[in-house]
Symmetry: C2
Subunit: 337 residues, 2 copies
DNA sequence: TTGAAAGCGGTACCAG
DNA sequence: CTGGTACCGCTTTCAA
C-alpha cells in the first residue's frame, strides 16, 4: 500500500506539502504541485480513508436511511436512491445505507461513531420516528419528504400542495366544474407523507375554484387496475370529463384505455393531468399534461443542504418546497356545457 | 465526544483493557468487564469509526455495486439490496452504495482507499466489466450472479439451470410432451446473466425428456401484458397445456386470467410452474407450484463468503450454486392424451 | 512557499 | 489478568 510518505519521498517534499497540494488548503508552487500530482498518479496513491477520517474529522460519507416499507413503490424509490447517490458523489460523498431496523437505530449508531458526516432521510412517514431522532442528533440531517411534525428539521420536497392547486387551476381555467382525483393506494395516504399533501392541495383549490371533486383511491395496499377501470368508467358515465392522476404508470394506462374504449379522445373530450409523476409520462400511449416529480431536484437540493449545514452548523433549519412545473402536452380540453 | 480514554478513566482501568473488554480478544475478569460495560453504557461510548479503521485495518464496511441498468426490475432488485444489507448488518458490517458509473470506478476507488473490507456485486451482466476489475483487486469480492467469464471469481446464485431441469422434470413426469416457457423481456436475455441460464436449463432438460418446448418472451424492453395474453392464447389454441413461467407477477396474472377466461382450470386442465420467482406467488389468484428465488439465501451466503475470505484470504474462489427447491401447490396436472 | 511535529482515537504487542 | 506504549496514515498548527 502506498502512503503519503511514499509520495512525499518520491517527490522530494515533505508530507505536509503533499497533503496541502492535494487538498488545496494552502498555496503550493506550480512546479512542486505538478511534481506531486505526477508522483501520485504514477504511484497510484489514494489517501487512506480511515486516516483521513481520524485526522480530518470528516468521513466524506452520508448515511441514507430508508425503512423500505412494504408499500414503498420500488421504481420511484430506486430513482430517489440513485439520484441521491449521484448527487452525493458529485460533491465527493459516498452513501452508506441504513435499511430496515437500522433505518432508526442506525442513525444513532453512525452518528455516535462518527461514521458519517450527515444523514439523509428517505421514505418519510407522517409520524416518522426518525424526526425525533434527528432532533436529538448533532449530525446534520436532511429529510426528503415532510413528516407531520417538522419542527426544527431541514426538509426538502416537491410542493405537493401547490402541485394540487396548479392541476385544479388548469382544469378550472378550462371551464371544468367537476373532476376526479385518481390517487394512490389507500394505505399510502396513511403511511406516506406526500399523497395527503397532494390531496389537500387538490381539495382546497377545488373548493376555491368551485370544482366538484371526487377522490378515488387505486386499491387498498396494492394497485388494483380493475378497480381503476371501474372508477373511471363510473365517472365517465356520470359525465365527468376531467381527471387529475397521482398514481403509477399502470393507472395512467388503465385510464387512457377506458377513455379510448369509449371512443373518447384525450385533449378533446376528456382532460387529463398527471400530477407528481416520477416516471416518464411521455411514453404513455397518449400525450398527457404533466407536473413532474423530479427526484434529481429534491435529492440534489438535499445534498446541497447537507453540505451547507456541514460548513455552517448554525444555518437555521427550514422546509424547502420545490415549486411545481407544468408541462403541457395538450391533454386539457375546454369543458363543454 | 466520549473516547476510550474517558471510559478507561471512569472505569479505573487502562485503555487497553477497555479495548480488549469490548473486542473480547483477550480474557478480561468478569468484574472488570462488567464495570467497563456499565461505564460504556452510562457514558454512551461508541468507538470512533475512523480510529478503528486506521488502527484495526478493518472498516466494517462492505461496498455494494449496482449499476442499476434501465432494465433492472426494481422490486426484485430492492429485495436483494435489502437482504444484503440485513445480512451484512448481522455480521457487523454496513453497506456502502456504488451505483451508476461508480459501480465500476468506485470499486477501484474504495478498494484503494481502504474504505471497505470487501465488495459485493449485484446486477451482474454476462460480459460484466466488473469481473476484470474484481480479478485485479486485492479486496475480497463476491458476485451475486454469474458473469460469462467467472474464472477466478467468487460467485453465488440460485442454480438456474437446475431450476429449469426441475421444472421440466415435473411436467415430463406428469406426462406432458409439450410446454411453453413464458420468459422475461428480450433485453434481459442479453443484458442479464440469469434468464439465459434458466432458459438453457429448460431447453436442455426438455430435449432430454422429449418435451417439445416453445419459448415466449414477454415484451422487448418492458413487460407487455397484451403480448403475454396473445402468446398464452395461441399456445392454448394449439393444445399446449403446460407452462413454465419465469417472469414478474403481472405475467403470472395475465396467464391465469387467460386460462380462466377459457374456462380452463389450473391443476386440472392446465399445468403451471413458476420458476425462480422472487415475489410471493402465494398471493396469486390461483395456487401455483413454485421454485422460488430467495434473495436472503444468496445474499446471506454472499456475506458469509466475504467474511470468510477476510479471515482466510487464500480460500479458493469458486461458484456457489444454491439448489432449487420445489414448492407444490397442486398446479401440475397429469397430461391428457 | 515549505517542513517538522503534535495529535486524531483506537489496536495490539510487549512486559509484568 | 492488566498496563504501558508504539504505531496506523493523515491533517493542521507552528516555525522557518
Amino acid at each position: 500500500m502506498t502512503t503519503i510518505h511514499d509520495v512525499a519521498e518520491a517527490a522530494g517534499v515533505s508530507i505536509s506539502t503533499v497533503s496541502y497540494a492535494l487538498s488545496g488548503k494552502r498555496p503550493v508552487s506550480e512546479k512542486t504541485r505538478r511534481r506531486i500530482e505526477d508522483t501520485v498518479r504514477s504511484l497510484g496513491y489514494e489517501p487512506d480513508a480511515g486516516a483521513r477520517m481520524l485526522a480530518g474529522r470528516r468521513t466524506h460519507i452520508f448515511a441514507l436511511t430508508e425503512p423500505l416499507r412494504a408499500d414503498t413503490h420500488a421504481p420511484t424509490h430506486m430513482a430517489f436512491v440513485l439520484a441521491t447517490t449521484v448527487a452525493a458523489r458529485r460533491r465527493g460523498y459516498d452513501i452508506l445505507l441504513l435499511t430496515d431496523e437500522q433505518a432508526s437505530e442506525g442513525m444513532n449508531r453512525v452518528a455516535a461513531s462518527n461514521l458519517v458526516d450527515a444523514i439523509l432521510v428517505l421514505d418519510v412517514a407522517p409520524d416518522d420516528a426518525r424526526a425525533d431522532i434527528a432532533r436529538a442528533l448533532r449530525s446534520p440531517t436532511v429529510f426528503i419528504g415532510i413528516p407531520d411534525d417538522a419542527e426544527g428539521l431541514t426538509c426538502v420536497d416537491l410542493d405537493f400542495e401547490a402541485t394540487g392547486h396548479l392541476a385544479i387551476d388548469r382544469l378550472a381555467d378550462a371551464g371544468h366544474t367537476a373532476a376526479v382525483l385518481l390517487g394512490q393506494t389507500e394505505v399510502s395516504y396513511v403511511k406516506s407523507n406526500f399523497p395527503r399533501r397532494l390531496l389537500r392541495g387538490v381539495q382546497a383549490q377545488a373548493t376555491l375554484r368551485g370544482v366538484a371533486l371526487e377522490w378515488a383511491t387505486t386499491g387498498v395496499t396494492t394497485t388494483d387496475v380493475s378497480a381503476v377501470r371501474t372508477a373511471v368508467g363510473t365517472a365517465l358515465d356520470r359525465g365527468i370529463r376531467a381527471f387529475v392522476v397521482h398514481a403509477v404508470g399502470d393507472v395512467h394506462e388503465a385510464l387512457l384505455a377506458v377513455v379510448a374504449e369509449r371512443e373518447l379522445t384525450v385533449g378533446t373530450d376528456v382532460s387529463v393531468i398527471s400530477a407528481a409523476a416520477s416516471f416518464d409520462t411521455t411514453t404513455l400511449p397518449v400525450p398527457v399534461d404533466t407536473i413532474p416529480l423530479v427526484p434529481q431536484q429534491s435529492c440534489e437540493l438535499a445534498i446541497d443542504l447537507a453540505v451547507q449545514r456541514l460548513e455552517d452548523p448554525h444555518a437555521p433549519a427550514r422546509i424547502h418546497l420545490i415549486p411545481p412545473e407544468y408541462l403541457s402536452a395538450g391533454s386539457v380540453a375546454p369543458a363543454r356545457e
